[in-house]
C-alpha cells in the first residue's frame, strides 16, 4: 500500500487543531508547492461534512467528497459531542485502516483534552501527541 495521507483535525471555528501528513516510505519529502492544496481541499470539504453530519447516525462518514477524483478522496469522522472533525485526504482506498486510525486518534485526543492546561479548540503543539499520531498512522495507514 503506498498512498499519501493528509490528516487534519478541525475545531469549532473551522480552525485546524492538528495537522499531519503521512507519506509512503519511498517519498521522504512532500511536494512543497502542493502542501497548501491539502489545506484548501480539507477546508472545502467541511461544508459537506457539516451537511452529512446531520444525515447520518454514524460518526464515520466514509467518503464525503471528491476532488478531481483521480487525485484524492477524503473521509471524515465527526464527533458531535466535541465537534472536532477529523478529515483524511487520501489517494488510495483504505476504508478499514482509516476507520481504525480515526478511532484510535479519537481516544488519544480525548485523553489529551482532559489535560487541564490544554485549552479546548486551540492548536495542539504537544510533541508526544504528534509522535503517537505518527505511530498510529504508520500502524494503520502505511502498513
Amino acid at each position: 500500500m503506498s498512498g499519501s495521507f493528509y490528516f487534519v483535525m478541525v475545531g469549532h471555528h473551522d480552525n485546524p487543531v492538528f495537522e499531519l501528513e503521512f507519506l509512503p516510505a519511498g517519498k521522504a519529502e512532500s511536494k512543497d508547492d502542493h502542501r497548501h492544496l491539502n489545506q484548501f481541499i480539507a477546508h472545502a470539504a467541511l461544508d459537506l461534512v457539516d451537511e452529512n453530519m446531520w444525515l447520518s447516525n454514524n460518526m464515520y462518514l466514509k467518503t464525503v467528497d471528491k476532488f478531481n477524483e483521480w487525485f484524492r478522496f477524503w473521509s471524515s469522522l465527526t464527533f458531535l459531542c466535541i465537534h472536532i472533525r477529523f478529515i483524511m485526504l487520501h489517494d488510495v482506498r483504505q476504508e478499514d485502516g482509516i476507520k481504525n486510525f480515526f478511532n484510535e486518534v479519537y481516544d488519544l485526543y480525548i485523553k489529551f483534552a482532559m489535560n487541564p492546561f490544554y485549552e479546548p479548540n486551540s492548536p495542539i503543539r504537544s510533541t508526544a501527541f504528534d509522535r503517537k499520531v505518527q505511530f498510529l498512522g504508520k500502524k494503520h495507514l502505511l502498513s
Binding site: N15, P16, R35, H36, H43
Partner: protein
C-alpha cells in the same frame, strides 16, 4: 451563479434571435457614415420590438409574439478563428471590472460574514459576447440568416440597378460554392429592399419616385424608404438627443481607450476596427490590396456589427475611404449626430415594418411549406422508409452515413435531408416563440437523430428540446434536465466541441439557477472547466462559487475554495484584476483560522497580483502578512517570500523616496522587553583595582534587590534632608525594564550615553541581515538652568536623516549623537539583542521613537541551512549585488502596566504610562567611579582586614557630599571622625597589622590598661543619624573634576559563616543644586565568603567577695570567657592565639586575669577549647568627670606581648558598629514587650536592673594560616555582650532551632500575656547577702558549754529602689527529728529583724550563733525575705542562697 440583470427567459430569448443580413451600397454607407455608424449599427438600438406580433402556425392557430428581438448584421464571409474569439472574450472580461464604489452584499453564513458582490457583470458580458461569437454550424439553423436587407441610397444615379446588383451579390454569396460561410436558413432568402434617403441633401421627390418604382417591382411588403439625416451635424451638437447607440458601442470605444492608457499590449485589430473611424484605414488598406469584395471579408470581425461596407466592389470601397476622413475627428465619440428624434422614430418604424410585414410573413410561409413537406413525407416515405429499413436491413445504419461513421461528430446529413427539415422547422418555431410546437419537433428530430446515431445532431436537438420545454408557457411538462446533461456530455465527449458544450452548459446552468438548483448548477459548471481555456474555467468556477454561496445553507468553504481555483485560473488567463478580486474574496473565509499554508498562499498571490497591478500598498501588506504570521513554510519558501517582499518594498520606496520611512515587519521586536540604560559602560577590573559593580545591562533584574537599593537610597536621602524624604524624591534608576516603575520620566545626564537594548526575534527559517541599525529619536531642547529666559527650541528629530543610509558610523549632530551598528546578522529563528547608543549633547526632552535599519537577505542562505544550492542561489546573489535591502523603521511602543487600583480601573482595562523611552536630559552632573584595592573575597568570621578605596570624579563637574550606606554597616569602616584615633594610612604590607599596637613589657601583663572613649568619635550615638549612613571623609569635602583620592577601609568578616552579599550605595551631589536631579548614586555589591573562626562564650557571675571594706562599692564580678576553635578549614588555619581581651562598658571594666595557668599566650589548635577567667570591677566614677556617663571605658588585658589599642579605629569602630547594632535590636525588643503595663514595668525594671551587667568583651585573636607555603597572620576580633549576671552570651550567631513543621492554624492573635510577676529568680537577686565569720573557731567546751560565735550578716541592696528585708533566724525545719540532730545550733538574740534598705545600701547585722558541740556547722540558715517597699507582699521571696556557710568549731 451570481445574479444577472436579465431574467432567464430574456436571456434565452435573446440568445436565439432571427438573424438578418445586410448588404449595403457604397452610397448608402456614405449616408449612414455621417452619423458615425454603419447601417447595421444604425438600426441596432431599435431591433427590439416593443409591440406584439401575430402569426399563424400550421394549424392556423394565432400565435402571439412578444418582445421579439432581431439581429441585423453585416454579412461576414469567413468563420471566426477560435484564437480570435478567445482574444475578444478576454478583452470583454478584462474591461468589465467591478465598480470601485460598489457596495458589496454582506452574506452571513454560520460564523462567517462575507462581503461579496452579488452580481458578476463580467460574466454576463462574457456570455453575451460568447453567444454573439457563436459561428453557425451544420446541425442547427438558429443562427443562420433568415433574411437579407439590401440597402441603397436614393442619391445614387440608378438605385434600382444598384438593388439588382446587390441582389445578385447576395445570390452569389448564398449559392455559389465559393463561400461556405455564412449559412442561410433556406435557399430562397427573404430579400428586403431598403432605399435610404438623406433628407438634408437629396430632393425628396426623387426618392419618392424611386420608392414608387420599387413598390411596383418588389411589392409594398418587400421594400422600404428610410428617411434619415434630418439635420446637419453642426446643428445637432446643441440639442440634447438621447444616444441609444452608446450602450452598444461604448464598450468597444472604452476598450480601445483603456488599452492604450494601460499600455497593455493586447491590441485587438478586430476591435480596433469596430471602433469606427480611425481604424477604418487599416481595414481599407487591407481591402485595397485584395481584389474583389470577398477579400474585404477576409478577416472576420467578431462583433456582428462590422463597420466595413457590406456591399459594393472595390470602387465603392475606395471612394468610401475618403468619406470618413472629414468627420473623423469631431464625431468619434458621438453617434447619430445628424439624426433627430423623429429620425429615431422612423428607424424604429422601419424595423417594425420590416419585421411584421417582411420577416414574420416570410417565416410563416416557410413554416407552412416545411410543414406541408413534412406531413407528406411523414405520411408516406418516412415512416415507411424507416419501417422497411428496420425490417429489411435489420437496424443497419443509413447508407448515406456509412462513410462518416468514424467521424467524431457522428453523421453528416446533406442539407436537404428530411431529418434536417424537421430541425429547421423546430428552429423556426423556436425563433417565433412557438415553444410548444418547437418542443415537439425537437423531440421528433431527437429521436430520428438518435436512431441514426447522429450524435452531434441529436445533442443539438436535445439541447433545444430542453430549452423549449423550459420556455413553454405554463410549463406543461417538467424541465428535462437530463436532456441537457446528455447534450453536454455528447458535445464534449463525443463531438469534442467545447464551444457547443459550453453554450449548452451556460444555458443549463442559468435554467437550473432559476429553479434554485444551485448544487446541480455548480456541479455542471465545475464539470465544464478544463485545461483548454483558462478564462472559461475561471469564469465558470467563479459562478460555481457563487452557486455554493447562494444555496439554502450556504457552503462558505466550498465557495472560498472555488474562488481560489477561479482566481488561479484568472491569473493564468492574464486577468489579474479578476484574480486579485477572487483571492481577496476567498481570503475573508480563510483569514485568521490557522490554515497557515493556505493563508500564506493566498497572501502571496494577492501580493503578487497587487504588485503587477501597481497596487503597491496592498502588495506590501499582503507580503507583510506572510512574514509576520507564524509560518510553517520551508526555509526556501520563506526566503522566496522575503525576497519578493523586499523587491516590492524597494519599488514602493523608489516611487516615493521622500515619503515617510515604511514600517518593516521583520524582525519582530519585543517592545515591552526593551531595556534602557543610562551611563557609560563600566570598567570592571583594572589590575589590583576592582571597580564598583554598579548597574549594568548584563545584570538580571531582581525586584527584591531593587527594593533593597531603593530603601538604601531613601535612607541616605533622608539623612541628607534632615530626616525627611522630599516629596519629589525619585529613586535613581540606571536600568529600566519591563518590571521597573516607569511612570516617571527617567533622568539622563547630558554627555553621558543612553543605551537602549532592543530584543530582535527572527521568526523565519532564513537568516536576516540588518545593516546601518540605529535609533530614531525626537528631541525637544530645553534649558533647565534658565527657565525664565526660556528660548523656545523646535523639536528636532533624526527621522529625516535616517533616510541617508550612506552615513556610516555615528551620525554627527550638535544635539545628539546616534551610534550606528553597521551590520547586525540574525540567524534563522534567532533571538538577538542589540544595544544602541545615543549621546545627548544638549539638555531637553528626548523621545526614543524606534529603530531604523536596512533589512536585507544574506547570500549564503542555502549553505547555512545545509541545503543543496538550488536555483535560488543565483537569484539571491544577484539580489544582494543589487543591494537588495530596504530601509525602514520599526517603532518601539510600550504599553504600561495594567492599572488595578481604583474600582474603575479594575473593571475596565486601563494601562498606565510607560515612559521608559522618554528620558529627560539634565544638565551635567558629577560622575563618580569607585575602585577597591586589596578587597578580599574570603574572610574568617570576625577577621579584620584593611583595604583601600579609590574615588575618582570622572565628570567635568565637582562632586561633594559623598556618603555611603550599606546593608551591612558593621562590615566596614572608614575610621573615626577624630583624626587622633585613626591611624595614619600605613604602608600596605601584608603582615602588618590592621590594628594600632604598642609593645608592652611583660610586667604589665594581666593588668588592665584602660582608656575612655566617646562613641560620637566613631560616628555612632548621635540620635539624628540613623545608623548605616556614613560620611566619607573627603579632603575639603569636594572632589574636583578628574581628581582621585584613596582612602583606607577596614573590613571585618561578618559573624555568621557563609556567603554574604554586601551592598554599598555611594551617594554624592553636585556642588550646585539642580532641580531635576538632586543627587546621584553608585552601587556596589561585594560578595564575601566567611569561614568560622572562634566561638566565644562568656558569662558573668556575682562575686560574693567584698573587695575590702573601704571599697564601699558593690561592684565585683567574675567573668568567664570560654573560647573554642570551631574553624573547620583544617588545611588553612593552623592555630589561633588569643592575644588580648578587652572590655568595653560604661560601668565595668576588666581588672585582671585570674587565669590560674601560667601560660600567657592562649593558643588554640583545631577543635581546642580554652577558658579564661577575669575579674571585673565597676569603673571608678570619680575618674569620670562631667559627661562621663556617655563615655565608654575600654580596658585591655594583654595576653601577648603587644597591646592592641582597642579604643582606636578598627577595633573600636567595629565594636561600636556591632554593639550598636545589637543594642538597637534588644531595645526595640524590650520596648515592644513592655508597653502594656507601666506599673509592672517599673517593678520589673527595678528588679532587672539588679542583674544588668552591660559589659562587652572583645576577644582579639591572631590566626596563623599557611597559604601557598607562606605563613600569614590573620587577626580579628569577636564581640560578646554580657547583659545579665548568670546569663551566658555567645559570639557565634546562635542558630535558630529548626522549627518543626506544625499544622497551620488560624487563630486570633492572643493578647500578649501580662508581664508576669518578676520571677523568683529575679527577685532573689534583689538582696545580696553574705555572712562574715571566722572560718574556724576554737572553744573550750569543757570550760564553757556554750560557745557563742559572732557572725556578721551583710545585706546589700542591689536594686535602685528601697527594699524591705525580713531576716528570720528561726529554724525552718519543723520536724521533731531535726531538733535531735547534734549538728544543730541556735541563733541567739533577736530572731527576726525587719529592715529597710535604701538603694545600693549595705547593712550589717550582728548575729550570734550558739554551739554546744564541736563540729562543722552550716551557718547558712538565716532566711532573708525581701520585697520592694512600695509593692505588696506579692514580691516577697526568700533571698537565701543555698551556698553553705561552713564553720568549724573546735574543741580545745
Amino acid at each position: 451563479m451570481a445574479q444577472c440583470l436579465q431574467s432567464v427567459q430574456e436571456f434565452i430569448q435573446d440568445s436565439f434571435v432571427p438573424m438578418v443580413a445586410v448588404l449595403c451600397s457604397e452610397d448608402a454607407e456614405k449616408v449612414t457614415r455621417k452619423n458615425n455608424l454603419n447601417f447595421a449599427e444604425l438600426v441596432r438600438p431599435f431591433c427590439r420590438l416593443t409591440s406584439e406580433g401575430h402569426m399563424r402556425d400550421p394549424n392556423n392557430q394565432v400565435q402571439v409574439i412578444k418582445n421579439l428581438k432581431i439581429s441585423v448584421t453585416n454579412i461576414v464571409t469567413q468563420a471566426p478563428q477560435p484564437a480570435a474569439i478567445r482574444k475578444v472574450l478576454n478583452e470583454v472580461v478584462l474591461l468589465c471590472q467591478p465598480a470601485e464604489g460598489l457596495v458589496a452584499n454582506v452574506i452571513t453564513a454560520g460564523d462567517y460574514d462575507l462581503n461579496i458582490s452579488a452580481t458578476t457583470p463580467w460574466f454576463e458580458a462574457y456570455r453575451e459576447s460568447f453567444f454573439q461569437s457563436m459561428q453557425a454550424s451544420e446541425h442547427e439553423f438558429l443562427n443562420h440568416y433568415l433574411a437579407c436587407m439590401l440597402v441603397v441610397s436614393s442619391h445614387e444615379a440608378q438605385p434600382l440597378d444598384q438593388f439588382l446588383k446587390l441582389s445578385q451579390e447576395q445570390n452569389r454569396i448564398q449559392h455559389s460554392s465559393d463561400y461556405a460561410y455564412p449559412k442561410w436558413f433556406i435557399p430562397n432568402t427573404l430579400k428586403y429592399y431598403v432605399l435610404i434617403h438623406d433628407t438634408s441633401e437629396e430632393n425628396e421627390q426623387r426618392a419618392d419616385s424611386v420608392y414608387e418604382e420599387m413598390k411596383q417591382r418588389y411589392g409594398t411588403q418587400g421594400c422600404y424608404l428610410l428617411k434619415i439625416n434630418s439635420q446637419t451635424s453642426s446643428v445637432g451638437s446643441d440639442e440634447q438627443i438621447p444616444d441609444p447607440w452608446s450602450q452598444y458601442l461604448q464598450k468597444t470605444i472604452l476598450l480601445n481607450q483603456e488599452l492604450f492608457e494601460d499600455g497593455v499590449a493586447i491590441v485587438n485589430s478586430k476591435n480596433a476596427e469596430n471602433s469606427v473611424n480611425a481604424q477604418d484605414l487599416d481595414m481599407l488598406d487591407l481591402s485595397v490590396k485584395a481584389d474583389g469584395i470577398p477579400n474585404n471579408f477576409k478577416m472576420h470581425p467578431l462583433q456582428l456589427d462590422h463597420p466595413s461596407d457590406p456591399g459594393g466592389n472595390l470602387d465603392t470601397l475606395k471612394s468610401n475611404m475618403h468619406i470618413p476622413d472629414g468627420k473623423k475627428t469631431n464625431t468619434s465619440t458621438s453617434h447619430g449626430a445628424c439624426l433627430t428624434l423623429s429620425d429615431h422614430d422612423r428607424i424604429r418604424q422601419f424595423i417594425h415594418e420590416f419585421t411584421f410585414r417582411g420577416l414574420l410573413p416570410h417565416i410563416e410561409k416557410t413554416i407552412r411549406q416545411l410543414n406541408d413537406q413534412l406531413v407528406s413525407r411523414k405520411g408516406i416515405s418516412r415512416s415507411l422508409l424507416s419501417a422497411t429499413k428496420k425490417w429489411f436491413s435489420g437496424g443497419k445504419v443509413p447508407e448515406k452515413s456509412i462513410n462518416e461513421l468514424k467521424n467524431t461528430a457522428g453523421l453528416l446529413y446533406p442539407p436537404e435531408a428530411p431529418e434536417l427539415q424537421i430541425r429547421k422547422m423546430a428552429d423556426l418555431c423556436f425563433l417565433v416563440q412557438h415553444y410548444d410546437l418547437a418542443y415537439s419537433y425537437y423531440h421528433t428530430a431527437k429521436k430520428d437523430f438518435l436512431n441514426d446515431q447522429a450524435l452531434l445532431y441529436a445533442a443539438g436537438a436535445l439541447e433545444m428540446a430542453a430549452v423549449s420545454a423550459f420556455l413553454q408557457f405554463g410549463a406543461p411538462r417538467p424541465y428535462p434536465a437530463h436532456y441537457m446533461d446528455t447534450a453536454i456530455q455528447t458535445y464534449r465527449d463525443e463531438c469534442r466541441n467545447m464551444v457547443l458544450a459550453e453554450r449548452c452548459a451556460l444555458l443549463s446552468a442559468e435554467i437550473l439557477k432559476s429553479q434554485s438548483k444551485y448544487s446541480e448548477a455548480a456541479t455542471l459548471l465545475i464539470r465544464m472547466t478544463g485545461e483548454d481555456s483558462d478564462l472559461r474555467s475561471a469564469l465558470l468556477l467563479e459562478q460555481a462559487a457563487h452557486c455554493f454561496i447562494n444555496m439554502r445553507s450556504p457552503m462558505v468553504r466550498k465557495f472560498a475554495f472555488h474562488m481560489i481555483l477561479a482566481g488561479h485560473r484568472f491569473s493564468k488567463a492574464g486577468q489579474k484584476r479578476h484574480a486579485l478580486r477572487c483571492y481577496c474574496q476567498a481570503m475573508q473565509v480563510y483569514k485568521g483560522k490557522g490554515w497557515t499554508l493556505a493563508e500564506d498562499h493566498i497572501n502571496f498571490t494577492i501580493g503578487r497580483q497587487s504588485f503587477t497591478l501597481r497596487q503597491l500598498d496592498n502588495a506590501v501588506s499582503a507580503f507583510r502578512h506572510i512574514l509576520i504570521n507564524d509560518s510553517k513554510q520551508t526555509a526556501a519558501q520563506q526566503g522566496a517570500f522575503l525576497r519578493e517582499y523586499l523587491y516590492v518594498y524597494k519599488n514602493v520606496n523608489q516611487l516615493s523616496p521622500d515619503g515617510p520611512l515604511p514600517q518593516l515587519p521583520l524582525p519582530c521586536i519585543q517592545s515591552s522587553q526593551a531595556r534602557i540604560f543610562f551611563g557609560h559602560d563600566r570598567r570592571l577590573a583594572e589590575g589590583e583595582k576592582q571597580a564598583a559593580t554598579h548597574v549594568s545591562l548584563d545584570q538580571e533584574f531582581d525586584r527584591e534587590l531593587s527594593q533593597q537599593w531603593k530603601d538604601l537610597e531613601e535612607k541616605v536621602v533622608a539623612v541628607v534632608n534632615k530626616g525627611v524624604i522630599p516629596l519629589n524624591f525619585q529613586p535613581a534608576q540606571y536600568c529600566l525594564n519591563s518590571q521597573t516603575d516607569n511612570q516617571r520620566f527617567p533622568l539622563a545626564v547630558v554627555e553621558e550615553p543612553i543605551i537602549v537594548e532592543v530584543i530582535f526575534k527572527n521568526p523565519l527559517k532564513v537568516p536576516l541581515l540588518l545593516t546601518d541599525l540605529s535609533l530614531l529619536w525626537k528631541f525637544h531642547q530645553k534649558n533647565f538652568n534658565l527657565s525664565h529666559s526660556g528660548k523656545e527650541y523646535e523639536p528636532i528629530s533624526n527621522e529625516k536623516d535616517a533616510h541617508l543610509k550612506e552615513l556610516q558610523g555615528t551620525f554627527k549632530s550638535e544635539v545628539m549623537g546616534t551610534e550606528v551598528i553597521p551590520e547586525f546578522y540574525m540567524n534563522s529563528e534567532e533571538t538577538k539583542v542589540a544595544r544602541l547608543k545615543l549621546y545627548p549633547h544638549q539638555t531637553g526632552d528626548l523621545h526614543i521613537l524606534g529603530v531604523v535599519y536596512n533589512l536585507g537577505t544574506v547570500t549564503s542562505v542555502n549553505s547555512i541551512d545545509g541545503m543543496d544550492p538550488s536555483s535560488g542561489v543565483k537569484m539571491e546573489a544577484s539580489l544582494v549585488s543589487n543591494g537588495m535591502s530596504v530601509r525602514g523603521r520599526q517603532d518601539l511602543e510600550i504599553q504600561g502596566p495594567r492599572l488595578n487600583n481604583t474600582k474603575e480601573e479594575k473593571t475596565s482595562v486601563k494601562h498606565g504610562p510607560d515612559r521608559r523611552l522618554d528620558p529627560i536630559i539634565t544638565p551635567p552632573m558629577p560622575l563618580l567611579e569607585v575602585f577597591f584595592i586589596n578587597f578580599p573575597t574570603g574572610l574568617l568570621c570576625g577577621e579584620i582586614r584593611k583595604a583601600y578605596v579609590e574615588f575618582v570624579n570622572v565628570s567635568k563637574v565637582p562632586l561633594t557630599g559623598l556618603k555611603v550606606v550599606s546593608t551591612h554597616p558593621e562590615f566596614f569602616t572608614f575610621g573615626s571622625n577624630t583624626a587622633a584615633l585613626t591611624p595614619l594610612s600605613p604602608t600596605a604590607s601584608e603582615n602588618c597589622s590592621a590594628y594600632k599596637t604598642v609593645v608592652t613589657d611583660t610586667s604589665s601583663a594581666c593588668k588592665a590598661l584602660t582608656s575612655l572613649v566617646s562613641p560620637q568619635d566613631f560616628g555612632i550615638g548621635s540620635e539624628n543619624l540613623p545608623h548605616g549612613v556614613i560620611d566619607i571623609p573627603l579632603p575639603d569635602s569636594v572632589l574636583i573634576p578628574g581628581a582621585s583620592i584613596q582612602l583606607p577601609l577596614w573590613l571585618r568578616g561578618p559573624d555568621k559563616e557563609g556567603v554574604h552579599e554586601i551592598n554599598f550605595l555611594f551617594y554624592y551631589e553636585n556642588t550646585e543644586k539642580i532641580s531635576k536631579m538632586s543627587h546621584r548614586v553608585l552601587r556596589h555589591t561585594a560578595v564575601i565568603c566567611t569561614n568560622r573562626s572562634l566561638s566565644v562564650k562568656a558569662a558573668a557571675c556575682r562575686s560574693n567577695v567584698f573587695q575590702g571594706e573601704n571599697d564601699g562599692r558593690n561592684g565585683s564580678m567574675l567573668v568567664f570567657v570560654d573560647i573554642e576553635n570551631i574553624n573547620t578549614n583544617e588545611a588553612g588555619v593552623r592555630e589561633f592565639h588569643i592575644v588580648q581581651v578587652s572590655s568595653i562598658s560604661k560601668h565595668w571594666k576588666l581588672q585582671k586575669c585570674i587565669n590560674p595557668s601560667e601560660e600567657k599566650d592562649t593558643k588554640l589548635t583545631s577543635r581546642e577549647r580554652g577558658k579564661v577567667c577575669f575579674r571585673a570591677t565597676t569603673c571608678n566614677n570619680s575618674q569620670a568627670t562631667s559627661g562621663a556617663s556617655k563615655k565608654y571605658t575600654f580596658s585591655d588585658i594583654i595576653l601577648g606581648n603587644e597591646q592592641i589599642i582597642s579604643s582606636t579605629t578598627p577595633c573600636a569602630d567595629f565594636f561600636f558598629r556591632s554593639s550598636h547594632f545589637s543594642q538597637s535590636r534588644t531595645t526595640s525588643l524590650t520596648t515592644a514587650s513592655t508597653v502594656p503595663r507601666l506599673q509592672a514595668d517599673n517593678v520589673t525594671k527595678l528588679i532587672q536592673q539588679c542583674n544588668e551587667v552591660d559589659l562587652s568583651i572583645i576577644v582579639l585573636w591572631k590566626a596563623y594560616v599557611v597559604e601557598d607555603n607562606k605563613q600569614l597572620i590573620l587577626e580579628g576580633q569577636l564581640h560578646v555582650n554580657l547583659q545579665a549576671i548568670g546569663k551566658e552570651a555567645c559570639s557565634v550567631y546562635q542558630k535558630q532551632e529548626a522549627q518543626e513543621m506544625v499544622l497551620l492554624k488560624f487563630i486570633r492573635p492572643e493578647i500578649p500575656p501580662l508581664p508576669a510577676r518578676p520571677s523568683v529568680e529575679q527577685l532573689s537577686c534583689l538582696i545580696k547577702t553574705s555572712l562574715h565569720y571566722p572560718e574556724s573557731y576554737n572553744h573550750h567546751f569543757l570550760q564553757k558549754s556554750l560557745c557563742v560565735v559572732p557572725v556578721t550578716l551583710m545585706l546589700t541592696n542591689c536594686s535602685h529602689g528601697e527594699v524591705d528585708v525580713i531576716i528570720d533566724l528561726r529554724q525552718k525545719s519543723t520536724s521533731p527529728e531535726a531538733l535531735e540532730v547534734h549538728g544543730s545550733f541556735t541563733w541567739l538574740g533577736q530572731t527576726q529583724y525587719k529592715l529597710q534598705l535604701k538603694a545600693q545600701e549595705i547593712h550589717k547585722v550582728q548575729l550570734k550563733a550558739c554551739f554546744i558541740h564541736a563540729g562543722v556547722y552550716n551557718l547558712g540558715t538565716p532566711r532573708v525575705f525581701a520585697r520592694l517597699t512600695d509593692q505588696g507582699s506579692m514580691c516577697e521571696t526568700s533571698q537565701q542562697n543555698s551556698m553553705p556557710a561552713l564553720i568549724i568549731v573546735n574543741n580545745v
